[in-house]
Amino acid sequence: MGKMTIDQFFELLKKYDIEVLEGVTIEGDLEIEVEEGAAADQSTLAYLYTVVQEVQNFLYFANMAMGHLANVSNLLGMPMPFGVQAPQVPQVPQVPQPPAAVEEVAVPEIKLPEELIKAKFEPFKVEYPGKIQEVVLGATKKDGGTRGDVVVLGGEKSLPFYLFDTPQPNLPAVAIDVFDRKPALAKAVREHYEDVLEDPADWAKKAVKKFGADLITLHLISTDPLLEDTPANEAVKVLEDVLQAVKVPIIIGGSGNKEKDPEVLERAAEVAEGERIMLASATLDMDWERIAKAAKDHGHVVLSWTQMDINNQKTLNRYLLKRAQVRPEDIVMDPTTAALGYGLDYAFTNMERIRISGLRGDSDLAFPMSSGTTNAWGAREAWMKDSPIENDSDWGPRELRGPIWEIVTGLTLSLAGVDLFMMMHPGAVAVLKEIMGTLGGKISGSVADPGDWIFMEG
């Protein structure tokens, strides 16, 4: 073989068998002469490639390149192949090495640092200029009501449970739904209320005493013209019963009939005078002005309900504030809850956007939010016995699916900023309260070592 440049030499290394290496000589600065039929140890191949790569990186520095070649030759147990000695390179010992040593260094040595490089974590801070309105539900004796205690919603200055940003003055509250007629309930829910379904007052009592409800939502669904069409005057008697039966704040709902609801809520506002109940709900497609007036005249709170649309929510809130002259401390919003798997992503993002807008200073959206979390039971995964889909894996017992569907729906929306949950399953209420209390810093406890799962048997 004739003369070649280092570049060609490296090309050759890549192309040819490594045997050509033995007896490499070099002439002048960058010319290497290779003897045909030379042989070298196969095991050095990998290392040589590493060297080749490195040398290529430093190709501009011929001296260094030669230094590497000197190393190569040492490793191969060959005499230095260079016709010239590379200047300014630390002298490499040229002692021929036994083949055994060759094998040892064949694996690239990984250089490990002795010490950790110390670094400091500086958490990025987020501050919002706005604050969510505080809304008081219920009134005690000193404020002209008969409630044992009030529930305060809102007051956040940062995202939910971001206690490391700012303290959260009020953790979310949970209301349990009570109906003035037997509603269609999933079996897993119904079995907890079987004994009280006929009597809303007993139902409310059980929800508070046994299941820990912070509030009661009484739905006067029998007023629906498509159902019993109970007259408003008569329907609100149940409200009086419930106010007698429990001491927690009350939320009153109609049937959702847009002609009838304003009248029902008006009557409810009258009979609950002084109790600071919440009227559920004012919507854009019903007489919101009439409902707002009822709340104003009797000192109640109004729930502003829109269908998953931040702009509509803003519009309705502005109507209530500007046109109906409702005070900001008397408004709660329901931007609509969709169940896990049935639009929860829309509900979550809509609420999260509303909350962030409020925190950023949009006072038209800076109100506490309420969620009809019971909607989770509309998901077939919550109530259906088996999957209707042929190739689905087994869905398991529905008694265990339903509550977790309600929990996960609620938990997700709590992370979007919901302050008030309307729920039904007592187990779901307990678990959601537990996780929110924990994130809110109210529940202590620990495990011995959180890393034990790494080793646990079984």
């Binding site: 974590f121 958490p123 990025f124 929860l344 994130l439 646990m456």
Partner: protein, 469 residues
């Protein structure tokens, strides 16, 4: 990603509209870089020129840096089964979208009997849940070393690798980890975990076997120090585990650590910790309680951190009450909010309808469709449901926007041959589409009845309106 507009990307491209990338113009390619469906490396001329010209190489590197995700993307596993974690760009999904769904790994351990191991692995492999037109599945195995014996671990890891799914190898013992890696490093498992005490050994393993590595530390200064040290030593694929504490103040602290890590990576632009985050809901199994309580709490922890920034998780419970909500929530949170989810247009028979059953129509916006469909199914209403292609928009919006028109209704009715399936000629339209009543009657010749605003009220509506007088 540091750039927001295709124009900013365009100026880095050759601007020749050569089409080699598969798009007609460089501007179109630039737009796809912005929506992250392609990368700068997918421009062949740019790559070719960069090899020759150091100036262009510099430009390319700059573009790659400007367009790479804020949080590093790490790949676990190989081939078709490989799964990407991290790669996120935003704090809130409405700011763009979340990209790589949280990967769910399920634990097995090396002191299980062969039979138990097979049963558990099969369950993970076989699980599927139908949702919005596809089956949701689980991602892989976290193989824990409970024997503390390298050879036992090696053989079990090898067995589990046979299932072909991505793996996390869980052992703090470097000898056990080495044995497993000698067997399966080619499968590119994620190793778990380097800690304050074993980090040198694990650094060596990560470099030697070229596998992604999890760094585990509760103290975020320490976690960052580990990350900086590993990165500096040449490890690129890093996952951070800020330690999951399952309850009480510990859980509150975990929430804080996870949020601070992600927020500091994206908003604080701290590249040293801009890596995928690992959360281990399996820690719920350290609590007191029965299986259901633990499984429930594990699901609660999983849900919490699916919403808040976990990129990869290790779980225990394979019960349906854990799996169904978790895979559904993950799908919901990681759905791209910029494109409405759609279903196939067409005709759906509900509850075995006949020629006297009512005919309803709704849109192909997935949320609307599934609401109507489940309202009809739940109430066991025998009916025919026409699904109109409104380009994924809901009823109100599509009526206003012209995607829900009498002409399109007519086309759909012809395509689905609904006329041959029923004796009557009555179509029930959504209450929110009431204004189209006359137009659809004129177009189709059918009688059009306006149904309720909410499909939940269809049952009550039918009581007075069906059968028609």
């Amino acid at each position: 990603m540091k750039v927001k507009s295709p124009l900013e990307v365009y100026k880095f491209l050759p601007q020749t509209n050569c089409g080699e990338c598969g798009f007609d113009t460089c501007m179109s390619f630039a737009a796809h870089i912005i929506d992250r469906s392609v990368k700068p490396e997918n421009c062949p001329p740019l790559i070719k020129d960069a090899e020759k010209d150091p100036k262009i190489k510099k430009k390319l590197d700059q573009l790659i840096e400007l367009t790479s995700p804020e949080v590093a993307e790490v790949v676990v596993g190989k081939g078709d089964m490989a799964i990407k974690i991290g790669g996120e760009d935003v704090i809130h999904r409405h700011e763009m979208t979340y990209f790589n769904p949280t990967a769910f790994f399920y634990d097995v351990w090396d002191t299980m009997s062969d039979k138990e191991l097979e049963e558990r692995c099969s369950k993970v492999i076989e699980f599927k849940k139908f949702y919005v037109g596809k089956f949701l599945t689980l991602d892989g195995f976290a193989v824990r070393c409970t024997s503390n014996d390298p050879e036992t671990y090696r053989s079990v890891v090898k067995k589990v690798a046979g299932y072909g799914k991505p793996m996390i190898l869980v052992s703090l013992n470097p000898d056990c980890m080495r044995a497993a890696l000698e067997e399966v490093s080619e499968e590119k498992p994620l190793i778990y975990a380097a800690t304050e005490s074993n980090w040198r050994d694990f650094l060596k393993l990560a470099l030697e076997f070229k596998v992604p590595v999890t760094l585990r530390a509760k103290d975020l200064d320490l976690l960052k120090s580990l990350a900086v040290t590993f990165k500096n030593a040449g490890v690129e694929e890093i996952v951070l585990d800020p330690v999951t504490e399952p309850l009480g103040e510990g859980l509150k602290g975990t929430y804080e650590r996870v949020i601070n890590l992600r927020r500091t990576a994206i908003q604080g632009e701290d590249k040293d910790i801009a890596f995928p985050i690992m959360v281990t809901p399996i820690a719920a199994w350290l609590m007191e309680g029965d299986e259901v309580e633990k499984g429930y709490w594990e699901t609660v922890l999983g849900s919490l951190f699916v919403v808040k920034y976990a990129d990869v998780m290790i779980f225990r419970s394979l019960e349906p009450y854990s799996l169904l909500p978790l895979v559904t929530l993950r799908f919901n949170i990681y759905t791209d909010p910029r494109t409405p989810v759609q279903v196939e247009p067409g005709l759906r028979p509900i509850a075995d309808p006949d020629e006297d059953s009512p005919v309803f129509i709704t849109t192909n916006f997935a949320l609307t469709y599934y609401t109507v469909e489940s309202d009809l199914t739940s109430a066991n209403i025998k009916s025919w449901l026409l699904v109109l292609n409104t380009e994924g928009l809901g009823v109100e919006v599509s009526v206003a926007g012209g995607q829900f028109t009498a002409g399109k209704v007519k086309e759909l009715m012809e395509e689905t041959k609904i006329e041959g399936k029923v004796k009557h000629k009555i179509l029930v339209i959504p209450g929110l589409a009431a204004r189209l009543q006359g137009a659809i009657e004129d177009e189709t010749g059918w009688t059009v009845k306006v149904g309720p605003m909410d499909s939940g009220r269809i049952k009550g509506w039918l009581e007075t309106n069906w059968p028609p007088k």
